[in-house]
């Protein structure tokens, strides 16, 4: 260091030899002190810059949340298949997720496949040993061995101590209300993907995309609220099961809808299935008859015919139609089930359910107008709701006068029962047709969707006719005191082997309550009821569907918040007179 004195030292004249060395080393006339100072300055700047970078990074770390920390907890349920809860209109849970462990293996790392399979099949008796072995020898990185095991089984498998086995918490869909809501809710497959009912609807409305992106890990998704009321649903289902038993019917179905909003408050089709055991759903007798089946609705359709005739202005309530003799068309005779053999007025045609009268009325309006009216009421096109299941109506290939005659009383055109409910709802709620929905909907939203299909005056007349039917027509057995029920019955012969059967019938009943200002529409459908001692050998709607409806109404009306009113005047005073006053 003799040749490099400290910078502070003044550049004293050096002896000759060191000066030469100095010049060789540093160049001529260089002030080493100044140079050293500059270098130290440079080092300070460099270090300051490094520290500044560190400081900035620290601030950034503090401000921007650490993405890895959030992921750390989620790592154990890598299978991101959470689904939102489904609730009924009062917040009762219809479907929810619970965590269930699933057993997987890293097949590549397994040591002794035979031992593992042996131990596993001893612990989990319902495991398929052959399949498990096949999966374990596959040498893949990840194979499922058993999905959704119980915590107890998890502990037992853990105790086996087989290396390379592991558990993943998976979301398992459970339906606490089981069968009660099966057809509406639908169900999911083992990967928690919706495959039927509202579950499928959830998937088609964004949930599937979330699953694909692996984002649906949390259960903080907003629950989906349905229009369904589980209490009404239960009461309806309970009565329908009793009816299924009592009339030894093939199936019974029922539906309650709010005619002001189109919300479906209850929908039951028995036999149904348990969504917790979706295998049952494959049985074709367990289909949802209200949306997936199409039926000739029988006399219930006369309500549509009468509404059309009244709305066209060609027919009034005082008009009369000749029902003295069967209506002859070509080689067909149209008979009445309760023949009166006289000239009938319009209300009589409705209450006696006269086929001849309805047919003549439809002919008076005309074939094209009949078709146009039914199309306007959505009876000729497939009705689509949130449910993926729907059925196309069966129309006649050529629609002539004979078709109009038969369709006037509900034969020759098969529609989904939900479809006819929508139409009858429009006939009684003031003429506004509202597409049915399973989701909650307010009256304002419904008003925006509604289409005026008939005049409000016609709707008044229809309500009058339906109430009249409960006062002295075929629907007297459903007239629960206090709720001012109105309704229209229907009995249609079923087609067996291409011919109308005399013994196999489908009976329906549409009830409105209260008839003067309808809020709810109830449909009861009994498929192939048998005559019992109680029904005096009859299988018509008035003896099975109607009394069932009566029982259902007595149970559900208080739940739906309908106030019983007694001592109301008969239909002609209350509905017709009030309708005229209002306008």
């Amino acid at each position: 260091m003799q040749s490099a004195p400290s910078p502070e030292a003044t550049p004293a004249p050096l002896p000759r030899r060191p000066r030469l060395l100095h010049r060789l080393l540093y160049g001529r006339n260089v002030d080493r002190g100044a140079k050293a100072k500059a270098r130290v300055g440079l080092a300070i700047v460099a270090f300051a810059a490094v520290y500044a970078v560190i400081a900035v990074r620290l601030v950034a770390l503090a401000v921007i949340p650490d993405p890895h920390g959030a992921r750390r907890g989620a790592a154990q349920d890598a299978v991101a298949t959470a689904r939102p809860d489904i609730q009924d209109r009062n917040g009762e849970i219809l479907a929810t997720d619970v965590k269930a462990p699933s057993l997987f293996a890293e097949a590549r790392k397994i040591v002794d496949v035979d031992e593992a399979v042996e131990l596993l099949s001893a612990t989990l008796p319902d495991i398929d040993a052959a399949e498990a072995r096949e999966r374990l020898v596959s040498k893949r990185g990840f194979v499922w061995l058993k999905r959704e095991i119980t915590p107890k089984q998890q502990l037992e498998v853990h105790r086996l101590g087989i290396p390379s086995l592991g558990f993943l918490d998976e979301n398992k869909r459970v339906y606490p209300n089981g069968r009660e809501v099966s057809h509406v809710i639908g169900h999911v497959n083992i990967d928690n993907q919706g495959i039927a009912g509202m579950e499928r609807w959830l998937d088609t409305h964004g949930l599937a995309a979330l699953h694909m992106a692996g984002l649906a890990t949390d259960r903080l998704q907003r629950p989906v609220e349905l229009a369904l009321d589980v209490r009404v649903q239960h009461a309806l289902r309970d009565e329908l099961i009793v009816a299924l038993d009592k009339f030894k019917a093939k199936a019974t179905a029922g539906l309650v809808t709010d005619v002001r909003t189109g919300e479906i408050v209850a929908m039951v089709s028995v036999p149904d299935y348990d969504p917790n055991n979706p295998r049952e759903a494959l049985d074709p007798t367990r289909i949802n008859r209200l949306t997936t089946g199409v039926y000739e609705m029988g006399s219930t359709f006369k309500a549509l015919t009468l509404a059309m005739a009244l709305d066209s202005g060609k027919v009034s309530l005082a008009s009369t139609f000749d029902a003295r003799v069967p209506l002859r068309f070509g080689k067909f005779d149209i008979h009445d089930f309760h023949p009166q053999n006289r000239v009938l007025t319009v209300p009589e045609i409705f209450t006696y359910s006269s086929n001849i009268g309805a047919a003549r009325m439809a002919l008076a309006v005309g074939v094209e107008q009949h078709k146009a009216f039914l199309r306007k009421l959505g009876q000729l096109d497939r009705l689509r709701t949130e449910l993926p299941e729907s059925a196309e109506p069966l129309l006649p290939k050529r629609w002539g006068e004979l078709n109009t005659i038969t369709i006037a009383f509900g034969h020759g055109l098969s529609v989904a029962p939900l479809q006819s409910v929508m139409a009858v709802g429009a006939l009684v709620n003031g003429g506004r047709m509202i597409p049915p929905t399973f989701l909650k909907r307010s009256e304002e939203e419904a008003r925006a969707l509604a289409v005026q299909v008939i005049k409000p005056e016609t709707s008044d007349k229809m309500r009058y006719l339906m109430r009249l039917n409960a006062e002295k027509g075929t629907a007297t057995k459903a007239d629960v005191k206090g709720y001012y029920v109105g309704g229209k019955t229907g009995t249609s012969d079923k087609i067996v082997g291409g011919r109308y059967s005399k013994t196999k019938v489908l009976t329906t009943f549409m009830a409105i309550m209260p008839a003067d200002k309808p809020r709810y529409l109830l449909l009861i459908m009994v498929d192939e009821p048998q005559a019992t001692a109680d029904t005096h050998g009859f299988t018509t709607s008035g003896w099975n569907a109607v009394p069932v409806a009566g029982k259902v109404i007595a149970r559900i009306a208080p739940i739906l918040g309908l106030e019983p009113r007694f001592d109301l005047p008969p239909a002609d005073k209350l509905i017709l007179a009030a309708g005229k006053d209002a306008r």
């Binding site: 907890g73 009762e92 965590k99 309970d238 106030e563």
Partner: protein, 126 residues
Amino acid sequence: MLRLVHVLVVAALVFAAADVYKIKFDSTLQAERVAKLRAEIRRERDLIASLRATWSELDNPERLQGLAQRHLALKPVETTQYDAFDKLPDRPPQVVPPRGDDPIAAIIGRGGDIATGSIPATARGR
């Protein structure tokens, strides 16, 4: 001068290192706590979900109806048993019951200083 700077810088360095270590240690602790709490919340939430599922299973109307039919002597409510609030009759006038079990005996037992049935001032003040 520069020596002082050196000393200061070295001191700052040592202090910074200690501080950074402390922060790092704290943050690791905090992160662990966060992870633990998160796992706990997750577990709690799963538990709540399964409890809610159990609750609505127990709350299922079908089950309740079965239980009610088996254990209760109640009958379904009839339509006539419902009525509106505005149809309730007026509340009957409130009769204030006198103190004691037997009001007449109480009056007699109070002695002869009350000539009539009036209540003495002292009694009223109580």
